[in-house]
């Protein structure tokens, strides 16, 4: 069963008076439980594609079906609900609240759903343990953690609401090779737990982790 179906997606960015065509008629289907890699040269449109899949950005034309539901035109709170519960994001630059503790960062998605206030902390701690962050690091401000630790916090935040889909934009881009390998292991483990994982990467050496690799060049899937 297809969890993601993109049909003929076009995306342009305004540049001054002109528009830059970043995605050109991109169609893509992803099956539930796949572990997919998106590769391509810098500026080819990988991040753009991932942002659209994650409902972080809109598109000009085309159709997007998520788990059988047409999500092409959603209202503000509907797309917020999907971001909150059904999709988890991991970024190269972490996108964490640097002054807050790891625990709070992981609790954050639960602030926006119905998890009771008292359960949030326990669930966040469990999730951090699951991604392999040492307990001594939970209460430190995130800015004091290493890159690999930060990325574990980011992954914990992405999965704490138990989404079906994990989107990662160059998750190991800011990490050394050992940390990268460990982070990839975490993703692989999540995929074994039947989550659909899409990872944007430059790194050809980790292609062994993926069921499928798609390549983007100049806004098209090649």
């Amino acid at each position: 069963m297809n969890i993601i179906e993109l049909h003929e997606i076009n995306k342009t960015y305004p540049i001054g008076k002109d528009r830059f065509h970043a995605l050109k008629n991109v169609s893509l289907t992803v099956e539930r439980g796949e572990m997919l890699s998106v590769m391509g040269a810098s500026g080819s449109g990988k991040t753009t594609l991932l942002n659209i899949i994650g409902l972080l950005d809109g598109f000009d034309s085309g159709e997007y079906i998520l788990s059988g539901e047409n999500v092409t035109k959603l209202r503000d709170h509907e797309s917020a609900n999907i971001r909150n519960g059904r999709i988890g994001f991991v970024f190269q630059d972490f996108c964490l609240l640097q002054n807050e503790s790891a625990l709070f960062n992981v609790m954050l998605p639960m602030y926006f759903n119905k998890t009771s206030f008292w359960k949030m902390k326990r669930k966040a701690a469990e999730t951090l343990k699951h991604v392999g962050l040492q307990e001594t690091q939970y209460k430190k401000p995130v800015k004091l953690l290493s890159g690999g630790q930060k990325q574990r916090v980011a992954i914990a935040r992405a999965i704490v609401n138990e989404p079906d889909i994990i989107l990662a934009d160059e998750p190991s881009g800011a990490l050394d090779s050992e940390s990268s390998r460990q982070i990839m292991e975490v993703f692989k483990e999540l995929n074994r737990e039947s989550k659909t994982v899409i990872v944007v990467t430059h790194d050809e050496t980790v292609s062994g982790y993926y069921n499928r690799v798609i390549r983007i060049g100049d806004g098209r899937i090649v």
């Binding site: 942002n51 972080l56 950005d57 996108c95 964490l96 002054n99 926006f112």
Partner: protein, 400 residues
């Protein structure tokens, strides 16, 4: 849900503690300067209102007899004679002035006793005496504060001639800023500010033949100034005849229209002096608070973009922004409401510079209106600074 929201609202100030405190202070100042502004205006208007609330004052004139207010005693006999002649006149309904009775000793303090016509007091029965034969007294705000209205009380009133013991009933107490004719100023540009005063340390009784008998007072008129009320429907020509007659016998006269015109002139001047400072404070603090809000929003932009990523809808982030700042505004309003209540309940305890600021229950309503207005502006600011910016834009900005 409430706990989560509250926790996020408090977190709004976490990265902006100093600006948050500043914003809070500015909100307090801005509201306070608004209340001072309106309070000063209210004080001015209050004189006018108290004057106009004297029944039939629009057919009265205000007079002074003699060259000045401290002319010698030999005047008195003549003064009374002239007044009683005047009162014979068919178009003169009433002559109203103050009569000074003497003093009461209350715990070693001397309290003045003053008699005035019922229409000037605004209270009292026709006789000034209740059914049980007790004389009705009305208190200035600061007198006998430990007693309440309807209490009975024994008074020993000392006048120049004798001491009388009477049983009185407290029939009313004036509130702050209930101004009464003071009868101690006359000018050729007579206005309400000259005429009215806020009495302190004074007991009032209604001036009637009955009370004067009870108080064994012989002289009807003490003050050299007073009102002459013309009877309703008396002809203009008749009235001006009386006025001419008064002029000839040594009276100075201000008509109702004179007083109103002079008051308007004086009010404008007073407001011109009193308004600019609070107005400027109000405008400056207002503008400052608006720019502070932009700053605070900006400081929280990154945080909110992470919230957005984690599933906070735009609409709800407006709500959180608005509540976060609104809480400061409301807290400031609560403080100003407390100041208002304090000044309403303990008017004598307010500091010197607040004496000419009139507080009222209306302030609470005003604070609410201002809070709503400010929140509307803040909402606009939120929409302007946040609405058009997408998550991607904010994130990219961070990377730069």
């Amino acid at each position: 849900m409430l706990k989560k929201n509250l926790s996020l609202i408090i977190r709004f100030y976490k990265d902006a503690k100093v600006s948050g405190l500043l914003l809070f202070t500015v909100f307090i100042l801005s509201q306070f300067s608004m209340l001072s502004l309106i309070g000063k205006y209210r004080t001015c208007m209050q004189y006018d209102r108290c004057y106009k609330s004297i029944p039939d004052v629009d057919r009265s004139v205000y007079y002074m007899y003699g060259e000045n207010l401290t002319a010698g005693n030999d005047f008195t006999a003549k003064y009374h004679e002239v007044l009683s002649e005047l009162s014979q006149n068919s178009c003169v309904e009433d002559i109203s002035c103050r009569s000074y009775m003497g003093t009461v000793i209350d715990r070693e303090e001397e309290v003045n006793v003053i008699a005035m016509d019922e229409r000037l007091l605004g209270y009292g029965s026709d006789t000034g005496i209740d059914e049980d034969g007790h004389i009705q007294i009305f208190l200035s705000p600061d007198v006998f504060t430990d007693r309440s209205v309807t209490d009975e009380i024994d008074l020993q009133i000392r006048t120049d001639e004798q001491t009388v013991n009477i049983r009185a009933v407290i029939s009313g107490r004036y509130k702050a800023a209930e101004y009464l004719p003071g009868f101690n100023i006359y000018s050729n540009k007579m206005d309400c500010y000259d005429m009215l005063t806020e009495y302190t340390n004074t007991i009032f009784v209604v001036k009637t033949p009955e009370t004067e008998k009870l108080l064994m007072k012989n002289d009807m008129y003490d003050s050299r100034t007073g009102f002459i009320f013309f009877s309703d429907g008396s002809a203009v020509s008749e009235r001006s005849e009386v006025l001419e007659e008064m002029n000839r016998s040594g009276f100075s006269i201000s008509t109702y229209d004179d007083i109103i015109a002079n008051t308007e002139y004086k009010t404008n001047k007073l407001l011109e002096d009193a308004i600019p400072l609070p107005l400027m404070t109000f405008v400056l603090t207002f503008l400052f608070s608006i720019s502070m809000v932009v700053l605070m929003l900006d400081k929280n932009m990154q945080t909110y973009s992470v919230y957005y990523l984690c599933g906070l809808s735009k609409k709800k982030s407006y709500f959180l922004f608005l509540s976060s700042i609104g809480i400061s505004e409301l807290l400031a309003a609560v403080i100003n409401a407390a100041i208002t209540l304090y000044c309403l309940y303990f008017p004598e305890r307010r500091p010197e510079y607040m004496q000419d600021i009139m507080f009222s229950w209306n302030n609470l309503y005003l604070l609410l209106v201002q809070a709503v207005f400010v929140l509307m502006i803040i909402f606009l600011e939120i929409v302007i600074t946040y609405h058009k910016r997408s998550f991607i834009q904010i994130k990219n900005q961070e990377l730069k």
